[in-house]
Subunit: 384 residues, 2 copies
């Protein structure tokens, strides 16, 4: 619980819901007959509706990007460091929209929602979704809110891929794309890690082909294991080394398989907490959306041609020790943007924390975002 809500916080926030009756055609060829998005907003939409920023979440994120849900909340939203009055995405200037993605497990229509066709949980019948599907659903929300064009679409990791999808697919609807710690597509190694995570879930006997909710069971072990392997890829080797090294929980080796090294306990804790707050079917969906993301695929695998579709300005950010989506992956995009003659800024931020850095307090990174968003704000109409 925050003893007192900090002054630069957006404060107490209440998630909102938007229901969409018109069917949504998905990349898979399937159709979602109707759907709902849960989302939060921070700040005020200006009179000419030009100051909206869409914040897209990563694999395990949700719509709660900033502020607190109650005075009992121990932790604010996932990007609270960045969103708030006077913060880099300054809610005194911007109107921030943060939805939970379709297929999610925190309120938007997903595997844990009721399938209107059967009256049962969707479970494994929920259709596979892609970053493009998310973009279309987010665009519907923008329509509902009266936002024709976002001042910026921003996100890290899978969130950055959504910003990129907006830039390429809906070029007239976005003024700036802020693409942090992302990649134009996954590498074989990225896919391999995702597949291990999925198999941990699929092979858990409590998974029951995805119908665990109906059966009152839950693949907790598998989901926790999936998170453990994912978590290793979020941290740099050095960060893990500095955090835990080979420290033992007790001074003596016990010659068994109980957690003896601090890093083991940490991983178990991360896995357990995650398995209690997240849904296994959603985890499968999100990792597959990552695997499928490939922005150049429809452009003869020519990233420059893909980037040439964009009309917005770009800020790309990478972190030196990120080995999940390394600086080299961001620099592929930078090269393509340069070749396509786009307007871009790029920063490779010195940071020890690995991929996780995009969520953390790193002064140069915060300053960079602040200065970029200040420039965006400066060009908004005075009414903003």
């Amino acid at each position: 619980m925050p003893d007192q809500i900090p002054e630069d916080s957006v404060g107490l926030v209440t998630p909102q819901r938007a229901h969409f009756d018109a069917p949504l055609q998905l990349a898979s060829g399937r159709t979602l007959p109707e759907f709902e998005l849960v989302y939060e907003t921070y700040g005020t939409l200006n009179a000419d509706r030009t100051n909206a920023v869409l914040v897209c979440h990563a694999l395990s994120g949700n719509h709660h990007a900033a502020g607190y849900h109650s005075m009992e909340d121990r932790k604010p939203g996932w990007w609270d460091l960045c969103i708030g009055p006077g913060k880099p995405i300054d809610t005194n200037r911007f109107f921030v929209v943060a939805p939970n993605n379709l297929g999610g497990c925190h309120g938007s229509t997903g595997p844990n929602s009721q399938n209107p066709a059967t009256g049962r949980f969707y479970g494994p019948d929920f259709p596979m979704v892609t970053t493009r599907d998310w973009m279309h659903a987010q665009a519907r929300l923008a329509d509902r809110l009266g936002i024709e064009r976002f001042a910026a679409v921003a996100g890290g990791s899978l969130g950055g891929m959504q910003a990129l999808q907006w830039a390429v697919d809906l070029p007239e609807r976005i003024a700036h794309a802020v693409v942090i710690a992302a990649a134009p597509k996954l590498s074989a190694q990225n896919i391999a890690f995702n597949e291990v995570a999925r198999q941990a879930i699929l092979r858990d006997p409590e998974f029951h082909g995805g119908r665990y909710l109906e059966l009152g069971s839950y693949p907790k072990h598998g989901l926790s294991l999936a998170r453990m392997v994912g978590h290793i890829t979020y941290l740099s080797d050095d960060a893990m080394g500095q955090k835990f090294g080979r420290e033992l929980r007790n001074p003596e080796l016990t010659y068994d398989y109980n957690h003896q090294f601090q890093v083991e306990s940490y991983l178990h804790y991360q896995g357990d907490v995650f398995s209690e707050r997240f849904d296994a079917n959603t985890y499968l969906l999100m990792t597959r959306a990552l695997d499928y993301f490939d922005i150049a695929k429809e452009y003869d695998n020519d990233l420059t041609q893909a980037m040439a579709q964009a009309r917005c300005k770009f800020l790309l950010v990478s972190f030196t020790t990120d080995w999940r989506f390394s600086p080299a992956r961001s620099e592929e995009m930078v090269q393509a943007l340069i070749a396509a003659g786009r307007n871009l800024s790029y920063a490779r931020i010195e940071a020890a924390q690995g991929h996780d850095a995009f969520l953390l307090s790193i002064p140069r990174y915060s300053e960079l975002l602040r200065s970029y968003f200040t420039r965006i704000a400066a060009r908004l109409p005075a009414s903003a």
Copy 2:
């Protein structure tokens, strides 16, 4: 099947067994009342018994290091590229000894052996073993074979750690240590990956606390998953990318969780094959032996002081794209050896294959081993 056994092969080989009646005191404080080692030898021990080379296997290896077990064998031993007449470890000059480690699952006493105290499989009651325990068991085998001092102890990865253990613990019994793609101890990230692999096994309901053999079950899913995650760490990101990229098995995405990318099929294949030839309890033991390895621990965590115990000469080898035990880890040892005034050679080999490189045909690596072992051979008595 080799249509014909190649001329530079050691040919058909038959594993041998050595039984040891005297109890073996283990690092854990427990005692193994008796044990057996299965091993292979190639070449001939010279009259003054000075040309013996001990080859230590890595996590998933065994005593079958070279040659073929039968004319039906499709693959030779795991280091056949390196061991044979005219090969880098030239069996015309050297007598090579390759044991299966204690706790293994290919013939040496391990979890699948009968516990003399109960008449049942050891299973989870088999004591935890360390590289030092392996060294002591190997030293017993050397005694049995009449080898007082090895011309060299050599191995890659966990095998290299055993060579290091010999150099430090039994300095009078080893003339050269060949330490390939190893590290003086595991990093937090290394331990984290091992823990994920162990949890995949421990959480498989077919594991039954390690008593699966007695119960006629087998944790195939868990062991296969453990191997999948391990395998990712054996290959470099680039090697995986070059081998598989994002290639699809079929031209169209299927929007489901079946294997669609080649890298997924490959991982599954590796996991399945491994789970059929390896034992889950042994996998747990071997990963724990890795976690526990820390050559400097007893020397106030001072690697130089540890290395100062050695009397042998050293060859250290690392591979540029190995991210499991990176060149930096070998170079820690090089620095300590220099500081300790030891005689050493070191090569960082340019190789795209990652950690797996130590098992592969890489001309500069083969030439290096050849030249090093030629120098060793040149100093053997003429009778060799």
